[in-house]
Amino acid sequence: MEYQNAFRVFFAAKSQNEALARIMTAAFLSQYDPTLSEITDVKTAVSEAVTNAIIHGYEEKTGEVELFCGYKDGQVYIEVADQGKGIADINQAREPLYTSKPELERSGMGFTIMETFMEGIRVESRQGEGTRIYMVKTLTTE
């Protein structure tokens, strides 16, 4: 796809970069005069996906997280990817309240939030190879 504008960033799988990923996303989005609520929707979804890459993908060990933001014709395209553990059962993972890490006080609501705040979400994952999440959101334009 030919995006009107896009960036792709790779950053260390460290929890302080969750905020960095949100700021980058918000700064990119703000070029397109989104509503505050749209910015927060996308930031929240990105935060969930990046957090998952760090704690589930890499299990809080070293690794690199990839974040892509693209814009085309009023739609924002997000990708978040890791080359970590992968997801064995994607359907189970996407169930509300399911978490494989209750000991870390995870709520199991990450995927549900991504699905609620974005329009489409697609999960590609292979065990031992990693996970890539695709999300889309249409911005209201005046």
Binding site: E18, T44, S107
Partner: protein, 116 residues
Amino acid sequence: MELKFFKRNRTLIIKIDGEIDHHTCETLRGETDRAFEKMGGKNIIFRMGDVSFMDSSGIGAIIGRYKNIQRLGGRIAVAEANQRVEQIFQLSAMQSLIPSFPNLDLALEYVEGGKE
């Protein structure tokens, strides 16, 4: 994220300022548990009026505190959550365990109303 701790009767009140995510939740959990141990008390209220961002990590941390507190017979509540934070609580159906009140007084009334 910044945290301020107050004690009212037998309730620890935690005022949260800033962003709640997986990164800041570590601090939120640790400091809340330490304050609860040090200051004593039975219940917890999270004042969330100045929370500028929250993702599902926040739900995990609040439910985690609920589990600890409940074992000791205490109650936990949330006060002043904005619309966005409220929406995330609703998604998680957390409110059946941890009610959310528009202001501190109502939250206090609820938590202090628990049995001795």
